[in-house]
Symmetry: C2
Subunit: 337 residues, 2 copies
């Protein structure tokens, strides 16, 4: 039976939420991943050391006995040098959501201009920057329009490590290769789906996420980069649980929940394309090198034997529908050490 053992798989972009939802989903990632970058977009956001410590404690309590490191990210704001210095050793980087960026890339850069002193300090202190790179333009153009801002930052701050989070376009894949300090994460779903799967048949709220899935040629470029374990590309699930009531409703929340099935589904994808050997670097090696991480030792064995994706994950009063709900996957996690 075909199998592969992954050393210390890492999820470089993860939403664990808080309270009861955190209790439900944290163990689902902690079971099979050695570590994950935890997004700070709680309400209020994690933008100070106290809330970071407190959130990390809640995560550690929720993850159970699993070997797992939550790599904490802080929410970008106009931090002082003292704040950054104090926070540096407790976090993996700072996540920027460009609320001020507008529809065209020039205005996007201008908005980013205003916080350049923070970027400068981050560059000097070697604190990585993670960016949700979308403008407020037309939904299919938002990422492409933001690329000029990425390029501006990459050139202006050549030692600032910049991660283009959850890229979705062929243009972003192309840009990622052009600057040494510009790397990217990509989700599971963006390797598999296009806008067709969200809105081409019936509307599918469970595959609705931001950035929205794009065109077939975009998916193909992302997939080829992942299968090749492109050295600038890391796996980041962006797994984002929402209660069912926020998904099957009028005005559905954005986010796909993939954490519990990410490893077997990725094994399937890489195996289907004869690239299983590249999975280790895509799911851990690249991130270790790019972020200088030494994750917990954890060996996850995957075999080509069927596993069943539950229709929903339930507990703590929560009910979350995963991607591939109710489907059988050809690969399974069979051993974790």
């Amino acid at each position: 039976m075909k199998e592969i053992t992954i050393q210390s798989p890492l999820d470089m972009h993860l939403h664990l939420r808080d309270e009861e939802m955190l209790k439900l989903v944290a163990p689902l990632t902690a079971e099979t991943f050695a570590g994950a970058v935890i997004m700070p977009n709680l309400v209020p956001p994690v933008d100070n050391l106290d809330s970071l410590h407190a959130y990390k404690e809640r995560i550690t309590a929720a993850q159970g006995e699993h070997k797992f490191t939550p790599y904490m990210a802080m929410f970008f704001r106009d931090y002082t040098e003292a704040e950054l210095a104090a926070a540096k050793e407790h976090m993996i980087g700072i996540k920027l959501y460009p609320a001020g960026a507008t529809t065209n890339s020039e205005a996007g850069v201008k908005a980013i201009d205003a916080v350049e002193p923070v970027f400068k300090m981050m560059e000097e202190m070697e604190i990585p920057l993670m960016v949700h790179g979308e403008t407020h333009g037309f939904v299919m153009d938002r990422e492409k329009e933001f690329l000029a801002s990425y390029e501006y930052l990459a050139k202006k701050f050549p030692k600032l490590q910049i991660t283009m989070e959850h890229i979705t376009t062929a243009d972003a894949v192309d840009l990622m290769g052009r600057y040494e300090n510009l790397r990217a994460t990509v989700t599971l779903q963006h390797l598999i789906i296009t806008l067709d799967d969200v809105a081409g048949g019936l509307l599918n709220p469970h595959l609705f996420c931001k950035p929205i899935a794009k065109r077939p040629e975009d998916r193909e470029a992302l997939l080829q980069a992942a299968l090749a374990a492109n050295p600038s590309l890391m796996f980041g699930s962006d797994s984002a649980p929402h209660p069912l009531s926020k998904k099957e409703c009028c005005g559905c929340a954005a986010g796909v929940f993939t954490a519990p099935l990410a490893l077997p589904r990725l094994a399937q994808l890489f195996d289907d394309h004869g690239k299983l050997d590249n999975l280790q670097n895509f799911i851990s090696g690249n991130a270790q090198r790019l972020y200088g991480l030494t994750p917990l030792e954890k060996k996850v064995t995957l075999k080509k034997t069927p596993s069943q994706v539950p229709a929903a994950y339930e507990g703590f009063g929560q009910h979350v529908v995963p991607m591939h709900a109710g489907e059988e996957l050809p690969w399974s996690v069979t051993e974790i050490n």
Copy 2:
């Protein structure tokens, strides 16, 4: 107070459904429109004279006392000459759903090849053809990919009157002007929304329709053609009621319900752009000329005084959420004669 009186407004593409839903929605169109082209996509489809007569009777019974003509369309299939001859005087045309068309336009034309004898008879008998022009390709490309099939038909059957139903792209607007026998309908929503309104913020099932709303430049081209009362363009609401349970759900049905508010919303749109004078031709004149119709006389007066769109239309056990549900529109229908 600004006002306009429309003579015999026509909706050249309408879904009335059947049974209880028909009873709810038929009067909502019949009240303000003088006539409408009734889509034949029931289950089973309206594809013989018996079912056409029976459906027309059910519509007439449901529409109430309103002055209103249902112009019946038949569902395209491999009709014999005798069938076409018998049906001709009872219908306005035949509606083709290209189930066999595939992802590229060449294959689309090939699929259409197989039924060319029917087109030939329709051309000779002067029976108009109405087409849902989408391939099975990527959702944003389906209409554009089908345009080659329209062009092929327009050239091969120069006397066949072809209506490109519910066009959504700038490319279709451009094509419509290039062949004398190629005309089009456009919906209300495609003059107003883009994909942004469906999936750019939260997912909005009530604005999800097929063809899906496209890019801003597409909406702009459609709007300019409508405002100019382009002589090849007719209003066809494609108003498509679905019960709430089929809209706010996992896997939502496609269709926007606009019939009851179409006239005041169109008056608003044309007035906003200083083109009220062109509304008559867009909403009736062009259709009368292109189809050779002499509709029932009906005068509908619209004034710039606010009207309220209900949160839902209810009755006969049905519950349908319209576009602009719960919003106030600046224009109202004030008189119908």
